[in-house]
């Protein structure tokens, strides 16, 4: 069976992007292979690991369980849209300071999922963070420093008033020390 390709246009990290894809193309492959946003990774086939988590219209979703065509005309934020090495987003900054990553493979998805968590619950307890991270798997850290990083990010985001809903989430007023 051959089907016509569909044009999928999105605003990814604030930039208008477009590509023709098969309807069956998964969003994660559209982001990685068509838009070159390789920061988002694939860790499983079955929607468990959350390494592929991205924001679509402000909601964190697993991009391996979504078709690119479903995301047409949406606004997408991936890890590349959080912050730059020179100007890290508070979540990235906190992951760095608290050693919330080791191999770094799950990290982009975990940070995006954690931002999703903080959007729902800006000031979570340790237990709420652990439960809120149900949708991500990290095999390296044992999660403890991820939990500390999310705690720290929550405080920092509240202090600095970073808008988690803005498309490009670069940290405002945070110092990259």
């Amino acid at each position: 069976m051959t089907v016509e390709k569909k044009r999928v246009s999105v605003t990814a990290n604030g930039q208008a992007c477009s590509a023709e894809v098969e309807p069956r193309k998964l969003l994660v492959h559209y982001l990685r292979d068509d838009l070159g946003l390789t920061g988002t990774h694939v860790g499983c086939d079955t929607s468990q690991c959350g390494a592929c988590s991205v924001m679509v219209d402000g909601d964190v979703v697993k991009s391996c369980t979504m078709l690119a065509v479903q995301a047409d005309h949406s606004e997408i934020t991936t890890v590349e849209g959080l912050g730059t090495a020179a100007e890290l987003h508070p979540m990235q900054q906190s992951f760095w300071e608290e050693h919330g990553l080791q191999c770094g493979y799950c990290t982009p998805g975990v940070m995006i999922a954690a931002i999703g968590l903080l959007k729902e619950n800006p000031n979570p307890t340790e237990e709420e963070i652990r439960e809120g991270l149900e949708g991500v798997i990290c095999r390296c850290t044992g999660y403890q420093f991820i939990v500390s990083a999310v705690q720290k990010a929550a405080t920092r985001i509240q202090e600095t008033g970073v808008n988690l809903n803005s498309q490009r989430l670069v940290g405002e007023g945070t110092q990259n020390d």
Binding site: H29, R32, T38, L133, C140, G142
Partner: protein, 782 residues
Amino acid sequence: MTKMVGSSVKRKEDARLLTGNGNFADDITLPGMLHASVVRSSSAHAKIKSIKVEEALNHPGVVAVYTGKDLEGKIGPIPTSWYVPGCNLKEPPQYPLAIDHVRYVGDGVALVIAEDRYTVKDAAELIEVEYEDLPAVVNQKEAMEEGAPLLHEDIENNIALNWKAGEIPEGIMENAEVVVKESFYVQRVFPSPLETRAAIGQYNPGSGELTLWCSSQNPHIHRMVLSEVLGISEAKFQVIAPDMGGGFGGKIGVYPDEALIGYAARDLERPVKWIEERSEHYVAANAGRDEYIDVELAGKKDGTLEAIRVKNTANLGAYLSTMGAGVSTIDFGMMVTGSYDIPYAESETFGVYTNTTPTDAYRGAGKPESTYQIERIIDLFAREIKMDPVELRRKNFIKKEAFPYQNAHGLVYDSGDYEKPLNKALEAINYEELRREQEKKRKEGKLIGIGFSTYVEMCGFGPSEVVGAVGFQGGTWENSTVRVHPSGKVTVFCGTSPHGQGHDTTFSQVVADKLGIPIEDIEFVFSDTKSVSMGWGTYGSRSTAVGGAAVSFASDRVVEKAKKIAAHELEVSENDIEFENGKFQVKGVPGKERTFQDIAHSANMAWNLPEGMEPSLEAQYFFKPENFVFPFGTHVAVVEIDKDTGEIDLQRYVSVDDVGTVINPLTAEGQVHGGIAQGVGQALWEGAVYNKNGQLVSGTLMDYTLPKARFFPHIESDFTETPSPVNPLGAKGVGEVGTTASIACAMNAVVDALSVYGITDLEMPLTPEKIWKTVQEKEGNQ
């Protein structure tokens, strides 16, 4: 300048990983790149009657299909890298694709190459393989029985090896006052790096050079082995490990798939990428553990331990993996006495072929299993003689004064002070109070358990003569080159191959202290066989103890040469120069000095060097350690069991590890946490399960439980520091201690909770159902 070694420096590698700028295998795209998919056997044991490839070949976008027959004589079998001597080891050939006989679900039968990653999956489904099923055997004990199906016709009873070490003199066991016996099963688990395996091959038909990007923990070993398999000169073959999403031992192995990708890229003269899928990973990538361990521990009623006899029956899977023979023999068997001064030990191992995916090293590789049996049996011994398990451990600890200590099997433990972490851990949990609390709650009918693991492990592989003597096909020394650029900035090369451990940072800390330069001025190159001299990779917690030591020595050599140049420029004798904080200073003459950067410039310009001195400032060091290193420590777990559901509430987990000198407390703690999560994971949740027909039942993350954040309490981790005399850093290894200690620790806690029912053992993982059934049986269905 603040000393870098010993401080919690934030990681240098994080900036790229945090911003999506990592470079993992699947991030690499090359012009004209093709995609590969391996068609795998759906049968655990069968003869291949036919493979129909036409439909796949005719599918639009398909470039090539290879079967085992197509490759016969073109690429060799994949050899093991560990020929353990004296055990009658039998290595059957493992062809990159099965030729006419498949031996496990996941055995490769065809390779499909197509223009894109979707088409290749469609085409792979079009390959039709006709199998003639043969009886399968998945359990190693059953595989050894007479009449069991044979995997390899010429290997009797499927026995790959029978290894023995040590001898207990006659009479010791027989006349012992107390002998405690138990049989344990350390179940099969999956290392499960979050990034599956991956390989990309690129061949230059003009130069004849092949490049293989490969998610490997040891690219130089991959090059060494695969150059033979593919018949290509090592000098024309570059293996690069890009950023990796973890390894945990699962990416030590040199796999058929990697050989296939190298072959196809060369054959098709186009780049070929293969990215393993998760469900494919669980049938095709090496698993860990799967060992039945029978233990007998003999001693006196006063708690003096006298002898231990251990038999390990290990499932090697269908073929001999890269380190397959060594894990359950050398790694496991030599350490069975643990941290205790037990005069006699006897170890025996049977390695058995079964219709399952091969097993290989997984975090700790043999040491977690070894620790498991001794730490479990010592608890049971304590119960038998009615002694507190801590007291029994303390009584039998190798004493601080006894180091270097030779264990019953002849291994020499480098340094130790086992009381130190034990005391610190006891204080952290307030042990006596905790026991009183436990007594009180037991009276209320609650099931509370306290578990200990006072482990020691062997790591830092290792002294070349020793690893050679035990049959390992590698040198396990390490090399480092420190290259100083004219500006004084430094590039350092090292033969270990980090994949999440943070060696860019920790090794830079070592160099920064040695050269007195800012850590930002140092960049590391690892994991590329073209830029880095022969090295042996990252596994067995060897990187800091061996690679880090090489880095330290190479830095010394740079300073040594720089000092000569400084003395020459300052017109004093070398003895009058002291080097501190990056400055070569004439003793007692303030201001008469040269900075490290000055000398870097001078050395590289070579306008005025001491007579006969070679230009430039660069030094290489090949470090061959004289011994392994032996980290140790105490872990404590506290659990409460819900009688109604059997759920285990892990209430506290305390770890005090002694990994020698700690280079970076933050990353060291991270390693411990991760190790504990994997060890506790094995004890409580993880388990690879095959059915009788050899089908993997736990083949996705829907069924195989990787621990999640909510499974753990806040881990209370701490260190003591007893430096190793084996290397200049005093460092031991930290990558595996968490796992080595924690499997037994978590189990001991649960068994302690259930000891009120007289329970001595349960099979891991401790699913709530198992616990619930045990409680039901013991309390009777009310």
